[in-house]
C-alpha cells in the first residue's frame, strides 16, 4: 500500500485510479459488498484494471438487485412488449424514468409511482416507513411535479404477534409523521395481516404528483459546461453499513470508525422546504435536468444523470457539504442521506438557482460539471478516484436468467379447496361465523391507522378513507381530477400467481372505475421472496406475465414501479405480493361517485355475475 505522503495522518489514503492500475493484485472485498466473482471480473474487464475503492463502492451498489433489477429485468420486459402504441398514447414518460407521467387533459399531467421500503421498516419501523414516504415523494419531484397525495400499502404479521405490536404502530406513525409534515393528504392504502409477513413487513408507499405538460423534467445531464448542483441536506454517514467493509479492510485503525448504521433518519421539514424550493426552481426555468438521491445516493445520481445525458461528467467530492468528518470517497458516494436532489444547471443560471435555494434556506453547492467525452470522472482530495463509462454503472449491470420452476406443492395447494369443509348447520353457527368475520382484523375498521393521517391538507381531497379509491382534484377551475387505488390479494397469488396478479389489477381498476373515473395507467410494486429460489422466481414470472397480459387486454400501460426481492424470514418466503396501483381520470370531481349508499329511495343494482 502506498499512502499518499502529504495526507494528514487522520485522513485515510486515497485509492486513486493510477494507484489502482499499478496495484492490480491488491485484494478487494467485493464479495462482502455483494458482488459475485464474475461480476467483479466484469468490472475489471470494463475498466481494464482493478476498480478503486470508490469505483467498487459505486458498482456494488448500482449492480445490487435493488438498483439493477438484475433478476427481474428479463421478466419486466414483458410490460414493454405488451404495451401498444395506443396504450402509450397518453404517456409523456414511461418505464425507465423516475416515474411515469400521464396526460390527464387540459394541459395537465399526473405522475405516480409506488415503491417499497420493507427491510428498513423492519429494522426501525418509524424511521423506515418515514424515509420510504420521503423517497417516493422525491421520485415524483424529480419529474418536475408538485407532489399532491400519498397512499400506503402495509402488510404485517398477525395482529396479536409481538412483532406486529412493534412494527405496525411504528410504521403507521412514520408514514403519518412524514406525510403529515410534508402536507400531503393520505388518500388511501391497505392494511393486511398474514403470518408470512411476520419478521418481514411490507411497506409500499405511493405518491401522486401534478404538473403542466411543459414542466416535465427528466433525469439527464447534457450540454458540456453545465453545472451539477447538489442541494438539500448535507451528506452524512447514513445507511452505508455495506460500504464500511471497505473502511475496515483498509484503514479502520486510522479513522477509528465503527461499523456504521444502516438506518436513516427522515427530516420531513427539510423535504417540505425542498419541494417548495424545487417548484420555484422549475417555475423559474432554472433546471436542465434533475435527479433525486435515493437508495444509492450520489453513485446513482451522478451515474444515471451522466448515462442518460449526451456527454461526460466531472464531480469533485471535496465540494460536497458533509455532516461527518473525514468521509472517504466511497462513503460520500454511497451515503444514503435523505432529502437531497441533484440538478443540472446552465452556468448563467447558477446565481439565480442559488438565490432561490437561499430564500428557502436550502444548502446548495456546485459539485461538478458536464464535460465533453463519455467518462464519469470523480475526484477527491485532488486525486481521480473514479473514471468510468457511466452507462456501465447505471444501465449495463448484470442481467440474470434465474432458473424458475413451478413448485411441487402448487398442485396440492390448489386441490385443497373448500369442498370438504364443514358448513354451518344452524342459524346460531352462521351468526357466530358472521361475528367472527366482522371482528376479524382483516375486516375491522382501519380508523386506528387512518386517523393518524391528514387527508384534508391542500383542500383538494374529494375522497379518501373509507372510499374504494382516493380522489384528488388537479385543477380547481375545471374540477378535473384523478382517482387512485392500490390493491393486492397475496393469498390469491399464492394459489395462482398469474390469476392473482390479474385479480389485483382488476380490483384496483374496479375501485377506480367505481369512483366514476376512467382508468388510464398502472404502477406496481412486486414484493417477493428470494429470486434464487426457483419457486419464487416462478411466482414472479407468472405474476409479471399475468399482469402484462391483463394490462394489454384492458388497454392500460404499466408506467413504472418497483421490485422488492428477498422478502423472507429464514428460508420461508412471504406470500407473493404484487401490489397494483391504478390511476383514473375524472373530468369533474364534483361528479365523482361517492362511497356508501345514497339517499333513501334510490335503487340498489348488482352489476356482473
Amino acid at each position: 500500500m502506498n499512502p499518499v505522503p502529504e495526507a494528514p495522518p487522520a485522513l485515510p489514503p486515497v485509492d486513486e485510479v493510477a494507484h489502482a492500475a499499478a496495484t492490480p493484485d491488491e485484494p478487494q472485498p467485493h464479495a462482502a459488498l455483494g458482488l459475485r466473482d464474475e461480476e467483479y471480473a466484469r468490472i475489471r474487464e470494463i475498466l481494464g484494471r482493478r476498480p478503486t475503492e470508490a469505483e467498487l463502492a459505486m458498482y456494488s451498489v448500482m449492480w445490487s438487485e435493488h438498483c439493477s433489477y438484475k433478476s427481474s429485468k428479463v421478466h419486466l420486459r414483458r410490460f414493454g412488449e405488451t404495451t401498444t402504441e395506443a396504450m402509450r398514447a397518453r404517456l409523456l414518460a414511461g418505464i425507465g424514468e423516475n416515474a411515469g407521467v400521464v396526460d390527464v387533459g387540459d394541459g395537465w399531467a399526473v405522475t405516480f409511482k409506488i415503491e417499497s421500503h420493507n427491510h428498513p421498516s423492519y429494522v426501525e419501523p418509524h424511521q423506515g416507513a418515514a424515509t420510504g414516504v420521503g423517497g417516493i415523494v422525491r421520485d415524483i419531484m424529480a419529474m418536475g411535479a408538485r407532489p399532491v397525495a400519498v397512499m400506503d400499502g402495509l402488510r404485517v404479521g398477525p395482529l396479536d404477534a409481538p412483532d406486529t405490536a412493534r412494527v405496525l404502530p411504528g410504521v403507521v406513525s412514520g408514514v403519518g409523521f412524514y406525510g403529515n409534515c410534508l402536507g400531503l393528504p393520505n388518500i388511501g392504502g391497505e392494511v393486511v395481516f398474514d403470518p408470512s409477513y411476520s419478521g418481514n413487513p411490507l411497506v409500499n408507499a405511493l405518491c401522486v404528483g401534478v404538473l403542466r405538460h411543459e414542466d416535465l423534467h427528466l433525469a439527464f445531464a447534457s450540454g458540456a459546461g453545465n453545472k451539477i448542483v447538489l442541494f438539500g441536506a448535507r451528506t452524512g454517514l447514513d445507511g452505508i453499513g455495506g460500504v464500511s467493509v471497505l473502511a475496515s479492510e483498509t484503514f479502520v485503525e486510522g479513522t477509528g470508525r465503527k461499523k456504521l448504521p444502516s438506518v436513516q433518519v427522515g427530516d420531513p421539514f427539510a423535504e417540505k422546504v425542498l419541494i417548495e424550493c424545487c417548484l420555484e426552481l422549475f417555475g423559474g426555468g432554472l433546471v436542465v435536468g434533475i435527479q433525486d438521491l435515493g437508495g444509492a445516493g450520489l453513485s446513482c445520481a451522478t451515474s444515471e444523470l451522466a448515462s442518460a445525458g449526451d456527454g461526460g461528467m466531472h464531480v469533485d467530492l471535496d465540494t460536497v457539504p458533509l455532516r461527518a468528518e473525514n468521509m472517504t470517497a466511497a462513503e460520500i458516494l454511497s451515503s444514503e442521506s435523505q432529502e437531497r436532489m441533484c440538478a443540472v444547471v446552465t452556468p448563467e443560471n447558477v446565481d439565480a438557482f442559488m438565490a432561490v435555494c437561499r430564500r428557502w434556506d436550502v444548502t446548495a453547492t456546485v459539485i461538478g460539471e458536464v464535460t465533453d467525452g463519455d467518462r464519469l470522472r470523480i475526484t477527491h482530495r485532488g486525486e481521480t478516484v473514479v473514471d468510468v463509462p457511466p452507462r456501465t454503472v447505471a444501465h449495463d449491470g448484470p442481467v440474470y436468467e434465474r432458473p424458475y420452476a413451478r413448485p411441487d406443492w402448487q398442485d396440492a395447494l390448489q386441490a385443497d379447496g373448500v369442498g370438504g369443509r364443514a358448513r354451518p348447520s344452524a342459524p346460531a353457527e352462521l351468526a357466530a361465523q358472521v361475528r367472527d368475520l366482522v371482528a376479524s382484523p382483516a375486516l375491522a375498521a382501519r380508523t386506528w391507522v387512518t386517523e393518524q393521517y391528514d387527508r384534508y391538507v391542500r383542500g383538494n381531497t374529494t375522497s379518501a378513507t373509507p372510499a374504494d379509491a382516493g380522489v384528488v382534484r388537479v385543477d380547481e377551475a375545471s374540477g378535473r381530477g384523478v382517482a387512485v387505488s392500490i390493491d393486492a390479494n397475496a393469498r390469491f397469488c399464492q394459489l395462482d400467481p398469474r390469476a392473482g396478479a390479474q385479480l389485483a389489477l382488476a380490483e384496483s381498476m374496479r375501485n377506480v372505475a367505481s369512483s366514476g373515473a376512467v382508468p388510464v395507467a398502472v404502477t406496481d410494486c412486486l414484493n417477493f421472496g428470494s429470486p434464487e429460489d426457483p419457486a419464487v422466481m416462478w411466482q414472479f414470472a407468472e405474476a409479471v406475465g399475468g399482469l402484462a397480459d391483463a394490462c394489454a387486454a384492458l388497454g392500460l400501460p404499466v408506467t413504472g414501479g418497483n421490485v422488492s426481492f428477498y422478502n423472507q424470514t429464514g428460508s420461508a418466503a412471504i406470500l407473493p405480493t404484487p401490489v397494483v396501483g391504478v390511476l383514473g381520470i375524472l373530468t369533474d370531481v364534483a361528479r365523482a361517485v361517492r362511497h356508501g349508499l345514497g339517499p333513501e329511495g334510490h335503487a340498489v343494482w348488482l352489476l356482473g355475475r
Partner: protein, 78 residues
C-alpha cells in the same frame, strides 16, 4: 427510593433534524456563538431499591432509548 436520570441523544453519526433546526434558529434569533446543538430526551425516574443498575440499563436500552439510532447515559442522582 432513588432518583435516576436517563439522557438519550441521537447517535453522533445519525441525522439530528431537531438539533439542526434549533441551531439554525439561534442564528436567526440573534443568538451568536452557539456552534452546535443536539436535541434528545431527558427522563427522570423515581425507583425503589429493588431496581438495580442492570434493570435500569435494560429499561434505558429497550424502552427509553432506541438502540438502533440513539445512545444513552444512566445516572443515579440520589
Amino acid at each position: 427510593m432513588a432518583r435516576v436520570i436517563v439522557d438519550v441523544l441521537p447517535k453522533a453519526e445519525i441525522l439530528d433534524p431537531q438539533g439542526q433546526a434549533v441551531a439554525r434558529a439561534m442564528g436567526r434569533l440573534g443568538v451568536d456563538g452557539v456552534a452546535d446543538v443536539r436535541q434528545g430526551k431527558h427522563f427522570e425516574l423515581e425507583v425503589d431499591d429493588t431496581v438495580d443498575d442492570a434493570a435500569l440499563e435494560r429499561i434505558a436500552g429497550s424502552l427509553l432509548a432506541n438502540p438502533v439510532i440513539e445512545e444513552w447515559v444512566v445516572r443515579r442522582v440520589q
